[in-house]
């Protein structure tokens, strides 16, 4: 009996050694669900590129736990039930112990629900809806701050510089648009700003002139807009055309924050400020390098979506290396204890203000100055001094 036990221990030790030997060559496969087709594919693509860049860098430096990181991508077309199917497959069939990815809030909600039920950690990369980390989920972590905090930087800019008394809000009909607008109404109330117009539009609208002439008649100090890439450009082009003069044009991240906005709105984009979670000019270690590399490879600066995706791979690597073994629970524990500096800023998953496992980062304000997005607020991070007041449309040449 005694001998048998010794034998079994020996066999087990050998098996473990053998397994380790085999696995050393076996890459660590990580499949990521994201939208690669459909209307949201633009951001899916940007995130995919960023994931790949991070994985390449990590592999060049020896990989994770001595294993190469092999990323695969699964297209969810931004549809929740497909996202759900993908994740069920990853957890069940591929036995993947950690899930990252997705983009739209609807998909992230679906994935978060599965992850929690199946007790597999899920790191949300760039989905904004507040509820995702308000469900008392133990296994759901989020890199980007929740929607309620997107405009923190912008609000402080309002308070210290613009000092507006009135505001108009125009937002797209989406989860992100609606909750941004809702949070902005609350913020405005707190800051004593009166909201004169609060209007939603169907994504992809062609003509904003009716609503803009209404805004013009109300004459608000600030026009706050939450839009996708091209709606944002279209809005500013038509604002310029109608000569709607507000003291400030502000965008709520997303569409206003990426280079395409300036490319497409041209001179109408000048002086527009936008809330953002990250900028390529930040001084976090690796931030500028990442942005420069992305730009040289793909010809564009990435936005916070890309940066968050890029940093997420590092956060996951860090957690996987600290975890005792690669079981979901150990990885969860390691993620919970994360405390690291990334290109996206310091990352730490905290429980506060009703959020769980939520990373809170500072948010910033960027302004388009001479056709470039410059970081202007908080002043400590500014690459250029903000321009305020801005000239009226008539005076611009």
């Amino acid at each position: 009996m005694e001998r048998l036990r010794h034998l079994s221990v020996l066999v087990m030790v050998m098996a473990v050694l053998f397994a380790a030997e085999v696995f050393a060559a076996e890459p660590l496969r990580l499949a990521i669900p994201l939208p690669l087709t459909g209307g949201q594919a633009k951001f899916g693509e940007m995130m995919k590129r960023s994931y790949e860049m991070a994985a390449e860098e990590i592999n060049a430096k020896g990989g994770v736990r001595g294993r190469k990181l092999a990323l695969e991508f699964e297209d969810s077309s931004a549809k929740p039930e497909i996202a759900r199917a993908i994740v069920e497959k990853l957890i069940d069939v591929k036995k993947q112990p950690i899930i990252i990815g997705e983009y739209t809030s609807a998909c992230a909600k679906a994935v978060a629900a599965v992850a929690e039920e199946r007790k597999t950690p899920y790191v949300v990369v760039a989905s904004a809806a507040d509820e995702i980390t308000q469900q008392k989920y133990k296994y759901v972590f989020r890199m980007n701050p929740p929607n309620a905090h997107y405009s923190d930087g912008l609000m402080s800019y309002f308070k210290e510089v613009v000092k507006p008394a009135t505001m108009a809000i125009i937002y797209e009909s989406s989860d992100f648009g609606s909750s941004s607008a809702k949070d902005m109404v609350k913020n405005a109330e707190r800051a004593g700003i009166r909201v004169l117009v609060n209007e939603k539009y169907e994504k992809g609208a062609v003509d904003f002139r009716p609503i803009l002439s209404k805004v013009k008649a109300a004459n608000p100090d600030v026009i706050f807009m939450v839009s996708y890439v091209m709606d944002a450009a279209l809005l500013m082009r038509q604002i310029k055309e109608l000569r709607v003069d507000a003291r400030l044009f502000a965008g709520g991240a997303a569409g206003f924050d990426i280079p395409e906005f300036v490319d497409n709105a041209k001179d109408a984009a000048e002086y527009v400020v936008t809330a953002t979670l990250w900028t390529p000019q930040l001084t976090f270690k690796g931030a500028r390098e990442y942005a420069a590399k992305f730009k040289s490879k793909y010809g564009d600066f990435p936005s916070y979506h890309g940066a968050s995706a890029y940093a997420t791979v590092y956060v996951v690597k860090d957690a996987l290396e600290r975890a005792k073994n690669l079981t979901p629970d150990e990885i969860r524990a390691a993620l919970k204890a994360t405390k690291m500096e990334t290109a996206f800023g310091p990352v730490q998953f905290a429980d506060k203000e009703g959020f769980q496992n939520q990373n809170f980062t500072d948010t910033y304000v960027r302004q388009v100055i001479k056709g470039e997005h410059e970081t202007i607020w908080p002043a400590a991070y500014a690459t250029q001094k903000y321009i305020f007041p801005i000239p009226k449309w008539r005076e611009r040449r």
């Binding site: 199917a85 069920e88 957890i91 679906a110 469900q135 909750s179």
Partner: protein, 328 residues
């Protein structure tokens, strides 16, 4: 054998969970059965009664939102959505039927399409009721495992199947087909076409609504763009039936299997995955051209196809007449 086939298949499906399949496979099965339900109920109205609806997402979404709203506002279990959606969707379909059923052919199709879109945009705008674009999320789904959901949707599917069969084999079914083949002739025979079309619509809508209520319970999250989707619900429904077989008992199930398997398999192939819509579209085109009544519908005719070549001119005229009928 033929009579008991449905029962045998039901029995086999009932035993499937005992195989201990992974939850991924179970998920695919559940989605497949759900689509079969939607397909069968669409088939009742579109396939048998000839009223091609492009707006079944409206009923699906209404059912889903009935469950969601009961949960969110009344604090009831979202499972109450199943019985309540029957009442609610039935009422809605009567109202909508009153408006759209007086239209025929392509006009009916377009009117139902508009109905789906109106509901979607309304759900986006009635924030106080539906939470708008932020959607409704269940704090916790009832079960983590799949088996319970599987049996529930299987039960719904079995009921739908036998209900459709019962209806079609009754006098009602003959009226439906008569209306599909020639509405004016049916009318002149003394069939109250509006009445029977309303019955078909109402049944079809209610069954679809129940599937929608199930969806809320199963997925745990709904928003207007998901459950009222024109492309992803209304049109996929039609595709499921057209691919599988119009006006056949098994067509919708066959169609659902093909559509879902294909989507899952192709999507997972690396590199090719992004092209899955192209392959899908091509398959659809091929099926429509070569098997116009779907795989089940044209199964027997596949062999006969060669024999049909004779008398091409007469056939041509006939087909043209058949085409003209729909648009009159």
């Amino acid at each position: 054998m033929k009579r008991s086939l449905p029962l045998i298949i039901l029995g086999l499906l009932g035993l499937t969970p005992l195989l201990g399949l992974s939850s991924y496979i179970m998920h695919i099965l559940i989605i497949f059965i759900m689509w079969s339900v939607i397909g069968m109920s669409w088939n009742l109205l579109g396939g048998y009664c000839g009223q091609v609806s492009f707006g079944h997402a409206a009923f699906f979404g209404l059912g889903a939102y009935t469950a969601g709203i009961l949960y969110h506002h009344a604090g009831m279990s979202s499972w109450w959505g199943l019985p309540f959606s029957i009442v609610f969707v039935a009422g809605f379909s009567l109202v909508i039927g009153f408006i759209v059923l007086r239209l025929r052919g392509p006009y009916f199709a377009l009117a139902t399409l508009a109905m789906g879109e109106v509901l979607r945009v309304s759900a986006e705008n009635l924030t106080w009721l539906t939470q708008g674009d932020m959607g409704i999320m269940l704090q916790q789904r009832t079960w983590v495992g799949k088996v319970q959901y599987y049996y529930i949707i299987l039960g719904i599917a079995a009921l739908t199947f036998f209900l459709v069969k019962k209806v079609i084999e009754s006098k009602l079914g003959y009226y439906f087909v008569a209306i599909r083949e020639d509405q004016d002739a049916a009318e002149s025979l003394g069939i109250n076409t509006t009445f029977y079309k309303t019955i078909a619509l109402c049944l079809s809508a209610v069954l679809t609504g129940v599937a929608g209520a199930f969806y809320t319970n199963y997925m745990g999250y709904i928003d207007p763009k998901v459950v009222f989707a024109l492309h992803d619900i209304s049109i996929v429904t039609i595709m499921v039936v057209m691919v599988g077989g119009v006006a056949t008992y098994w067509g919708p199930a066959v169609g659902a299997v093909i559509m879902i398997l294909l989507a899952e398999v192709v999507r997972s192939i690396p590199k090719l995955g992004a092209a899955h819509h192209t392959l899908f579209g091509v398959l659809l085109i091929v099926i429509i051209i070569f098997l116009p009544n779907g795989i089940t519908g044209d199964f027997g005719r596949l062999k006969k196809m060669f024999g049909l070549r004779n008398g091409a001119d007469v056939d041509k005229l006939k087909r043209l007449l058949g085409f003209g009928r729909s648009s009159s």
